[in-house]
């Protein structure tokens, strides 16, 4: 199944993967805040761009894949960078691209070493609304199933000539409505199956991480580094 791809890409035997998700989340937020506070300082931005790449190398993660995923932000920031360039602000254009890429690399590294179930568990421990987290987890679980349904609907439509001509718009709407009805039916079935297995409104994690000294060290390093960068660019 296509859905297995994202979880399969997360390695299970490196020092970052073994850290508690809460520590990694705090470290990510600290780095991103430092990035936001040093938005006009090239040196600080380059350091925060290189840092996740070094961590990825140390954790034996595929750096090229990480860069490829982080580059998803490029089309959006390229538009604004071009405006700044045309406005004779070449420095601003470069800073914008580096800033967006650095933020993307840090976020991708975090996702690559943190399975979504552990992330949602960490958010629950930070008192995020449980109902929202349950919906998010179920959404993630059935996302790829429904995407395959949509893919099949699209393939079926293409085999009949696609959504073209005067019927095209209504045809596509009909396909979406059928997908909605199927999703609704599937949700009812999932609900009944979950209740029959003892579902009480929450989804338990089978092997939760415990918070260790190494997690505290990770937080301390990230806060010191981020605080140091923010302090250095200010004074």
């Amino acid at each position: 199944m296509a859905g297995a791809f994202l979880d399969a890409s997360v390695p299970t035997d490196n020092f970052l993967r073994r850290r508690d998700a809460r520590a990694k989340l705090i470290a990510l937020l600290a780095v991103l805040i430092a990035l936001s506070l040093s938005r006009a300082h090239l040196g600080a931005l380059l350091l925060l761009l290189v840092l996740p790449l070094v961590c990825a190398l140390a954790a034996r993660l595929p750096v090229l894949n990480l860069l490829r995923r982080a580059a998803l932000v490029l089309p959006f920031c390229a538009i604004f960078a071009i405006f700044a360039w045309l406005d004779h602000d070449r420095n601003g254009a470069a800073l914008l691209v580096i800033r967006a890429c650095a933020a993307g690399c840090n976020a991708v590294l975090f996702v690559a070493v943190t399975p979504i179930s552990e992330l949602l568990r960490a958010l629950e421990q930070f008192h995020a609304p449980r109902f929202l987290l349950t919906v998010t987890q179920l959404l993630y679980r059935y996302l790829f199933v429904l995407m395959e349904d949509a893919q099949q609907a699209r393939t079926a439509a293409r085999s009949r000539g696609g959504f073209k001509g005067s019927f095209g718009f209504r045809g596509a709407a009909g396909a979406l409505a059928v997908l909605f009805a199927r999703s609704h039916m599937r949700a009812d079935q999932i609900n009944q199956a979950m209740i029959s297995r003892g579902y009480n409104g929450g989804l338990p994690v089978l092997h939760p991480h415990s918070f260790r000294i190494a997690d505290a060290i990770l937080i301390a390093i990230s806060l010191t580094l981020s605080g140091g960068i923010a302090f250095a660019v200010r004074y």
């Binding site: 805040i33 800033r99 976020a107 975090f110 996302l143 596509a172 709407a173 409505a177």
Partner: protein, 304 residues
Amino acid sequence: MHIPDGFLSTPVWGTLDAVAIPTVAWISRSAQNSFDQHRAPLLGVLGAFVFAAQMINFPVGIGTSGHLVGGALLMFTLGPGAASIVMTAILILQSLVFQDGGVLALGANVCNMAIAGVFAAYLVQRTFGPRRLTYFVGGAVSLLVSAMLALSELLLSGVRMPRSVLWASVALFVVSALVEGAITLVVMESLEKINPGFVRDGGRRSSSLIPAVALTSFVLVTVGFLIASSQPDGIWSLAARVGLATHAQATLSTPLADYKAGFINQPWLSRAFAGIGGLCLVYIVCWAISRFALRRNAGTPRSA
């Protein structure tokens, strides 16, 4: 419309995160109370549906196609609270798994799409009731409010954009909004044919005037300052010409004087903050007066 990290300035993302966190917590609690918790799978699967629905492209002419964004469609089928929660869940996954939108900018994206976009569609539904026009206008207004808020936040953060490009962006958003409205309309019509039970009627309509005024105020206060003139009004212009303006003195200094939040340096952010703050204050004062009046009326015995 998904703003990545690195674009918004610290005051902008900080403020919007500070607004989004308690608002989502409150909506989540309200939705949990009004929505059977055991039906969480329905919300999760319908969130996945919105993701999947974006794979089906709609032909919109001249060799181009568009796809559903889905905030209004979720609102019309699940209600405002549940729709906000599903949109928030979608934005969390898009930001953390698909790199579509930033982590620090998540609050901004939630405010734009999951709160303001859904709320705009809800106000349209409360104004017009369950009819075809509602679906079209709801879908269009929902997307337009979200897009214009995103644009405003980028401008407030100092992202450079020439005036011609700004207006081209606004025109593009209007076209996208019309496409979203049309898609929402035809999908809702198809859903009504398959099963009318899928569509919520939006509850009892007490008066269409109040939601209409609220919707207009909300749109004006959030995006109106983009097109507002910086010239003084008639009285101030006259006062300046006859030399009276220099003699004007404020007897009381207030934080929102001259429709600006004095403690914010950025001019547009200052005006937007003052606008939203003013709207909230007026609402609270009117609400308090009406509560007081109702309580007094309830306590006064009626003469026979």
